[in-house]
């Protein structure tokens, strides 16, 4: 199949996905959003301080955005991704304006990353999903808590009640008068900081901030930092990375599933469009991929029963399955039929 045909097919795929998105978007949107989320564990667990909070992957190297908090006090945290994979990480940057922090894992291939380019400026009264590990309810591979809220207003952050009469700001809370999104639901619970708010189509809207109270009423403020402000904060932390060069170096790192697939002789289509359909480009003769029956122009539609829409998702899923279990079941479209292929890292 030539590139033009493939592009035509990819456009057809997009049209199809939009059509199905209109019919049943919610389940898929929320499942996809869970893949970018991270459970963050650090110091705490005494004196009413939680030892857990939330974060999400912001790039293919596995860098995680979360809120600055006492959980990060020792500069070392443990991250757990949507598959329950656990990795040690260190704090690589803190942003005073937004109260956000960047955390760099030792080695992690994120199942998915937040797409900042699709970010939307939300309108007042817009419905959003807020995903966080409030109260640390989810553990291991368990999905995080999902709440429904509406954007009440975009308003300047008040000086938190805790800091009245003192110069010291509450750690992790945006600077006073920073514009924040206020929600109509109780989204700001213990451990929810670093959670992600998305719109109905899955585009990122905001980052749940650290807990703080209103100076007027003494009640907890349910707010999120707009995603654009979070993106700027990430840029600030990256450009300030003389202290931590790893942030810059990692930024341009290519998706790391391709080398894993290379090991078994499987090459997927390069990303020619966004999204690129998950076609197999090449399966090296005699390789495990070839022996498993992979053929050029097979379109991968599912990995281990989970549907994959594009090459990025397919590659990440196959690499993750190979890494965890040494095998993966591919469902591919070939000559208008569906074929199941069993990939194994160690097969002859």
């Amino acid at each position: 199949m030539n590139i033009a045909l493939r592009l035509a097919f990819s456009i057809a795929c997009i049209a199809f996905s939009i059509a199905t998105a209109a019919a049943a978007p919610r389940g898929r949107v929320l499942e996809d959003a869970q893949l970018v989320m991270v459970k963050v564990y650090g110091t705490g667990g005494v004196a009413g301080l939680e030892a857990y909070q939330t974060g999400f992957f912001v790039d293919a190297a596995g860098v995680v955005l979360t809120v600055d908090s006492p959980v990060l006090d020792l500069d070392r945290v443990t991250l757990v991704d949507a598959f329950g994979d656990r990795v040690e990480a260190r704090v690589a940057g803190r942003d005073a304006v937004t109260g956000l922090a960047l955390v760099v894992p030792e080695r992690m291939e994120p199942p998915a990353v937040v797409d900042f380019e699709s970010a939307q400026r939300p309108a007042s009264s817009e419905s959003v999903w807020v995903i966080s590990n409030a109260f640390g309810i989810a553990a291991g591979e368990e999905p995080l808590t999902v709440q429904r809220a509406r954007v009440a207003v975009l308003a300047p952050m008040p000086l938190p009640a805790e800091s009245r009469g003192s110069e010291r700001r509450r750690i992790g809370v945006p600077a006073p008068s920073t514009p924040v999104l206020l929600f109509d639901a109780v989204t700001s619970n213990p451990g929810a900081g670093g959670g992600l708010a998305i719109d109905d189509t899955g585009r990122p809207i905001g980052v749940v901030g650290a807990e703080c109270r209103s100076p007027l009423t003494g009640t907890w403020i349910n707010y999120a930092l707009p995603i654009s402000a979070a993106a700027e904060a990430i840029e600030r932390m990256r450009s300030d990375s003389q202290a931590d060069p790893s942030l810059d170096a990692r930024q341009a790192a290519p998706p790391r599933w391709r080398p894993v697939l290379c090991e078994i002789g499987l090459v997927l289509l390069p990303e020619v469009a966004s999204p690129t359909p998950a076609y197999i480009e090449h399966a090296e003769a005699g390789s495990p991929a070839h022996n498993a029956g992979c053929r050029p122009d097979d379109l991968i539609v599912a990995v281990d029963g989970t549907t994959v829409g594009d090459v990025e998702r397919a590659g990440a899923f196959i690499a993750a399955a190979l890494r965890r279990e040494g095998r993966a079941e591919l469902t591919v479209l070939r000559d208008r039929g569906v074929v199941s292929l069993f990939l194994s890292r160690h097969a002859p």
């Binding site: 329950g84 409030a134 309810i137 291991g140 368990e142 808590t145 709440q147 639901a185």
Partner: protein
């Protein structure tokens, strides 16, 4: 001035009438959705009730689940009420209800409304099909607000499914529960959680509050309705019911996989081969990659449930069936409940005697008596006479003739390979003959007593609730009889009431004898076929000779 005002009002009048004459075009789908929403809220409000103790101080919520007036609520709602409670329906009427059964572990209580039905029962849903993001409707009686008992309605989404909430210093355990952001506040306890279509998917009972005081912060939990459904028949027997346990402790290891760290040697899982270090792959058809997933799969089942178990050792997958034991030691639940139940209030009137009998170890002994009587009535339909019988069979395993004799005071097994007898007047635990199926003859004799209306000869006969005869099968009504140390369970088809099988044991730590019972042309008695197993071993496969037409 007045004239211009007159003109103005005329113009306004015309404008208004024109406006009224031209109806706003609304998409029919919107109208239909709105109509459905109104209908659902009306319907779910009717089946939701407010529950108070007789002095009307403490209270909570509940939901009617059957037209004959069964009400499900939380154990912690009925605990202060004792045996009699006041139940208010949304039409403003107050009824009396009597406690039937208690599940302190699952935080569920079952009560029955006293009075004329039919009652507006909720439609039971399937909590397994609930997905994160689905609409969720909480109905109930928060803060005991409504003086006319119109329930409060709050709407949100399902925030999580398959949640496991550890026991927090008590026997209470929420397994495989639903999490919602619809407001659940004090007083909502025991009330229903509905899906968008008004189907009952859970019983609200718990929330995460922590440092915020006891008000909703968008994190509430509901016991899944599938758990409640598995327990309903058990609660209806008036017992204090227990949850199931695999008898093993497990830990989540990387992968993730669930690894057995320790196992009780008296558990059925141990007898079926499960050992420390094994990986538990699935239970009852649910994958168990983590310890929480296994606790979820086991925790929603009643004690005694038979289920499929898959485990892996050295790369090899083993599939077996286990009967799950009780989660608590004998007496442990009653002890835990003693703290939760206040001393009986002498001044308040008790429930009517026909509906309630107090007996230690039971929530309501009258409920046990009527549930037991119902099952005995079904067994009596077989019209078994008390005359001694001699059944001629062919054992297909050994290919030999077998005669089974059952009389008022003897049971015998006569075959060329061996002849055995059992005297039911003596201790049945010492008469193990035939050795390949210990207790078999005592079991057959007790079954004969139960079917012949002679249950009075046995030490104790009680209904238990529904359990599946085979793993994954439709649950059967179970009648438990104990006599001289032998415990026999009769499994009766829940629809037809016919006998499906009998299981017997002397001791929970031993393998049971299982007799699959297939009735003949004239019903369950005499049986045309008996398949007898002990543990993993087939003992005999008896086919009636007369039916086969051979001498």
């Amino acid at each position: 001035m007045s004239r211009s005002a007159g003109w103005l009002s005329l113009i306004l009048l015309i404008a208004a009438s024109t406006w009224a004459a031209a109806p706003i075009e609304v998409d029919p789908e919107v109208v239909a959705a709105e109509q459905q929403r109104i209908e659902v809220i009306e319907r779910v409000s009717r089946s939701t009730v407010a529950i108070f103790e007789a002095s009307a101080t403490n209270g909570g919520s509940g939901v009617i689940v059957s037209e004959d007036g069964l009400v499900v609520t939380n154990f912690h709602v009925t605990a202060p009420c004792g045996a009699l409670m006041l139940v208010a329906t949304c039409d403003g009427r107050v009824h009396e209800a009597v406690l039937l059964g208690l599940d302190p572990t699952g935080d569920i209580a079952l009560a029955r409304l006293l009075g004329e039905g039919p009652w507006p029962a909720a439609t039971l849903g399937d909590s397994r099909t609930v997905r994160v993001g689905d609409r969720a409707i909480v109905v109930g009686n928060p803060f005991l607000l409504a003086e006319d008992f119109t329930p409060s309605v709050s709407v949100g989404v399902i925030s999580g499914v398959g949640r496991y909430q550890y026991p927090s210093g008590s026997v209470l355990e929420y397994a495989d529960c639903l999490q919602t952001d619809a407001a659940i506040n004090p007083g909502n306890s025991g009330g229903p959680l509905f899906d968008r279509g008004g189907r009952l998917i859970g019983i609200n009972g718990r929330g995460s509050f922590e440092k915020r005081g006891r008000v909703n912060v968008g994190v509430g939990y509901a016991v899944s309705i599938n758990q409640v459904k598995a327990f309903l028949s058990h609660l209806a027997t008036g017992r204090v019911v227990d949850h199931a346990s695999l008898g093993a402790t497990v830990a989540t290891r990387s992968g993730p996989t669930t690894i057995v760290t320790a196992i009780e040697t008296g558990s059925d899982a141990y007898r079926r081969g499960l050992r420390p270090g094994d990986e538990v792959v699935a239970l009852g058809g649910s994958d168990t990659p983590t310890a929480n997933a296994l606790l979820n799969a086991v925790g929603v089942l009643p004690e005694g449930w038979r289920t499929g178990l898959e485990y892996r050792r050295d790369g090899r997958l083993y599939e077996t069936e286990v009967r799950l034991g009780p989660l608590h030691a004998p007496g442990e639940l009653l002890e835990a409940m003693a703290d939760a139940m206040p001393a009986p209030k002498k001044k308040l009137p008790g429930p009517p005697k026909a509906h309630y009998k107090q007996r230690e170890g039971y929530a309501n002994y009258a409920a046990m008596q009527s549930a037991t009587e119902r099952l005995l009535g079904q067994l009596r339909q077989a019209n078994v006479s008390n005359e001694p019988v001699a059944w001629a069979y062919t054992d297909r395993l050994r290919n030999e003739p077998v005669t089974v004799r059952l009389g008022p005071d003897a049971a015998e097994w006569l075959a060329p390979s061996g002849e055995f007898a059992c005297d039911p007047g003596r201790d049945l635990t010492n008469q193990l003959a035939p050795p390949s199926a210990p207790g078999l003859l005592g079991t057959l004799w007790m079954t004969r007593c139960l079917m012949g209306g002679e249950e009075g000869l046995l030490d104790r006969v009680e209904a238990f609730g529904r359990l599946p005869w085979n793993a994954g099968g439709t649950p059967c009504d179970v009648l438990v009889a104990t006599h001289r140390g032998l415990r026999v369970e009769l499994f009766l088809d829940a629809e037809s009431g016919t006998l499906r099988g009998v299981e017997a044991s002397r001791d929970a730590a031993e393998d049971r004898v299982r007799i699959a019972w297939r009735g003949g042309p004239s019903g369950a008695w005499p049986p045309a076929e008996l398949e007898i197993e002990h543990g993993d071993r087939r003992v005999a496969a008896l086919s009636s000779v007369s039916r086969e037409g051979t001498p």
